[in-house]
């Protein structure tokens, strides 16, 4: 009777602390799990359990430290032209620290996907912009996740934690006098303007939970829930000052407010199974329900107002732009199947060579873009392979094991053609397709 309160208390503590995810949805976490197509929710025991299934932490055999690197090149095209979608490259790593509390197996885990060139990426868009809406901002995020897991009975493990994403809220203000240049007399550099910038990088949290059920030595089942996260970009700008036109000083006031859904991590529910078909052959299958229908819109809501105190018939002010609102993108939920196969090839008495392969199919959640919006996307077939070595008891310094895993991931996005209903559409017909090629390696140290 005392076990359940402990588990609940652990999870509450975690929620009040924090941990995190995002790009790992697309490109995986850790070379072993990525090579298996992410079909590891029922078999994961290393640091990547923080993402794939937190309860797997409680099934780890000992303390485990991992560090690695991943690089994904995005060769995505619109109408045959490179869309210049940035690559994703990040340091990955984590820890699994098992123990026991009141004789109950217990584990703490932490995982991180840390981009090595930027911490976050923000970009708003106009409705008429054709853009790879799922691939330019969403993978460019930090993923940090911390979790706790317990194993109250031999056949059951429960885990959960919190993931964090970065969100931006900012404002800038300009005050002073702007000089209109007069040839030979004054330049714009004579202006006296003061700038004030106030920006926050704040955390967005979302929880994840998972259970693993182990009915026998060859079968594992898993159920994982990852909650939704929305990252909004809020910008407030204000210009107050005077435009100095030599003979005339004109007070001016300009305000801009913009809110954009910069990235959206959909709610997910994963059902997974792992079968040890042979002593050295394991097959994993995951099916993930992804709640893309909850995506509000990547289009910014903005309003602006220009107020210039001047009353000259020859002076014209541009009209204030009309406020823009969100357009329901009509994204659709989808089921994502994942399949992974792993064979551990014995090389020597204490040395194994794991061979891995995986496949994922992600149907695009983006509906046909025949109307005003032009969100580029395509179905995605992801093939992955991986290998490495597992060296058991390499020496006195490391009595556990030394593991080195690599992976190559190739995502194929078959070209999807969009034919617009309106021949006067600002964007026009377009085709979208391409490839994503990723590779990575992870070095792990296992302690008994």
């Amino acid at each position: 009777m005392r076990r359940a309160p402990i588990a609940v208390l652990s999870l509450v503590l975690l929620c009040s602390a924090g941990a995190e995810a995002g790009p790992v949805d697309s490109f995986g976490l850790g070379s072993r799990s990525t090579a298996l197509g992410g079909a590891v929710s029922a078999s994961v025991r290393d640091f990547s359990a923080n993402y794939y299934n937190p309860s797997g932490l409680a099934l780890a055999r000992g303390t485990d430290l991992s560090a690695g690197y991943v690089y994904v090149a995005q060769d995505l095209e619109l109408n045959g032209r490179d869309s210049q979608v940035d690559p994703v490259h990040a340091i990955v790593g984590g820890v699994v620290a098992p123990g026991a509390i009141f004789m109950i197996p217990f584990a703490f885990g932490l995982a991180v996907h840390l981009p090595d060139d930027r911490l976050s990426r923000a970009r708003s868009m106009r409705p008429e912009d054709a853009r790879w809406v799922l691939w330019d901002n969403r993978p460019q995020l930090i993923y940090l996740s911390t979790n706790l897991a317990i194993r109250p009975v031999e056949w059951l493990a429960i885990g959960g934690g919190v993931s964090f994403l970065a969100a931006t809220r900012g404002a800038f203000e300009i005050t002073g006098t702007a000089v209109l240049p007069v040839e030979g007399q004054r330049t714009e550099y004579d202006s006296e303007l003061r700038h004030e910038v106030d920006a926050d990088l704040t955390a967005v949290r979302y929880p994840a939970f998972g259970i693993t059920v182990t009915p026998n030595d060859r079968l594992d089942f898993a159920l994982v829930y990852r909650d939704e996260a929305q990252i909004e970009l809020d910008i407030e700008a204000e210009l107050r000052g005077t435009v100095d036109a030599t003979l005339l000083a004109v007070p001016a006031h300009y305000e801009l407010s913009s809110t954009t859904m910069n990235a959206f991590i959909p709610r997910q529910l994963v059902l997974g199974a792992s079968w040890l078909a042979l002593d050295r052959l394991r097959i994993g299958l995951d099916v993930t329900w992804v709640n893309w229908a909850a995506y509000e819109s990547p289009i910014s809501r903005s309003r602006s107002a220009l107020d210039v105190d001047i009353n000259l018939p020859s002076f014209e002010l541009p009209p204030n732009p009309k406020p823009t609102g969100r357009i329901d993108p009509g994204f659709q939920n989808r089921l994502v199947p994942r399949l992974g196969v792993e064979y551990r090839l014995p090389v020597r008495r204490r040395l194994e060579l794991p061979l891995r392969a995986g496949y994922v199919f992600e149907r695009s959640p983006v509906p046909p873009q025949t109307g005003r919006t032009s969100f580029a996307d395509a179905d995605r077939h992801v093939l992955s392979i991986g290998s490495g070595f597992v060296w058991a008891e390499p020496g006195e310094v490391l009595p556990g094991n030394l593991r080195f895993d690599t992976h190559v991931q190739w995502a194929i996005l078959p070209t999807r053609v969009t034919l617009k209903d309106n021949p006067a559409d600002t964007t026009g017909d377009f085709s979208a397709g391409g490839h994503q090629l990723g590779a990575g390696a992870t070095l792990s140290l296992g302690f008994p």
Partner: protein
């Protein structure tokens, strides 16, 4: 006051944390970027004061208006001939101006008008020229009191008029209200398949011809003023001045585009309407292609590769003294910048 150091530090933090480099010019991957929206050119692009007006010398007296453009050479942009309605030295007519950089127009070339009213059906003024190259000839459609006329030329300078209007008022038309058609806009869809878009009674109609002289009207207008619903639109009162062109979508679908002048209750602008294929009503774009506060009208389009130049007529300024018309220039994709203007000869 915020210190420079704090601003720099805050900027660095903000830049490192959230503000990343843009992926690039979004218009570079927008298939229809060349169809608009258009941006008026700047003074640095014009190389002179008065932008986007391209022909401001003596504009008050000459009343330059209603241009039609003809590309004379390759380039980005290349040589352009503008056929403009004007009064020069007291002579009303259609004048030809040439600029090697598509914007530095100075004097008529030739000095005199290339076309003046001379026929009884024309009345006192010619208007709204539409110049096109058909085969080895230059055809010039124009509006006059009795309808739309045609003049042809081997060199674009010496024109011979077709006797009588090629498209006159049609009392039997259900929507033209007996008005003579105006604002001719010509497009050649294929061999011996010509279309003439025209304005009448605040709407735009279409006629078909195999020789450019004998025209058969379509019974219904192809574009009407925008329905009055919600907020007032720039073209809710009338549409006119059609400027058609043939285009193809990025997927190879044939599109007939028609730029037009729209007039609304509170604003005006240049709009774009289009259709797939060669027949049927036009569907308007969701937003105007060009808006200014000076009543833009009479669009004339010329293309140089991916660059589209649109000449249009608008008031010289906002004051009553600047109510005379000028020819102005805009470009698309709006993210492009014109190379430096060539010095005037």
């Amino acid at each position: 006051m915020i210190t420079r150091r704090s601003v720099v530090l805050t900027g660095l933090v903000m830049g490192c944390a959230t503000l990343a480099t843009e992926a690039g010019d979004i218009d570079a991957v927008r298939p229809n970027a060349g169809a608009g929206p258009f941006r008026p050119i700047t003074e640095s692009e014009l190389g002179a004061a008065g932008a986007p007006g391209v022909l401001r010398q003596k504009a008050a007296a000459s009343r330059f208006r209603q241009a039609s453009a003809l590309a004379l050479g390759e380039g980005q942009p290349g040589r352009v001939a503008l056929y403009i309605v004007a009064e020069q030295a007291g002579v009303h007519g259609i004048y030809r101006f040439v600029a090697a950089d598509a914007r530095s127009f100075v004097e008529p070339d030739p000095p005199g008008a290339v076309l003046v009213p001379s026929e009884g059906w024309e009345g006192a003024e010619l208007a709204q020229p539409e110049v096109v190259r058909v085969g080895g000839e230059i055809w010039l459609y124009y509006a006059a009191a009795g309808g739309i006329g045609l003049a042809r030329s081997p060199d674009g300078i010496s024109f011979s008029k077709q006797p009588g209007p090629v498209l006159a008022a049609e009392p039997g038309s259900s929507w033209e209200a007996g008005e003579p058609p105006r604002s001719p806009g010509f497009v050649e869809l294929g061999a011996d398949d010509f279309r003439l878009f025209y304005a009448a009674a605040g709407r735009i109609g279409e006629a078909r011809s195999t020789d450019g002289v004998s025209w058969q009207r379509d019974p219904e207008p192809v574009l009407e003023p925008a329905p009055l619903a919600g907020e007032p639109l720039f073209d809710s009162l009338q549409v006119s001045d059609p400027e058609p062109e043939l285009a193809a979508s990025a997927q190879g679908r044939r599109i007939t585009r028609v730029y037009y002048a729209g007039q609304g209750a509170e604003s005006s602008g240049i709009g774009l309407a289009a259709r797939f294929g060669d027949s049927g009503a036009l569907q308007r774009a969701l937003a105007p292609s060009l808006t200014t506060s000076r009543g833009p009208s009479d669009p004339a389009l010329v293309r140089f590769g991916d660059l589209a130049l649109m000449y249009f007529t608008q008031k010289a300024g906002a004051s009553a003294a600047q109510a005379y018309p000028v020819i102005a220039l805009a470009l698309a994709p709006a993210t492009l910048t014109l190379p430096p203007a060539l010095p005037n000869p």
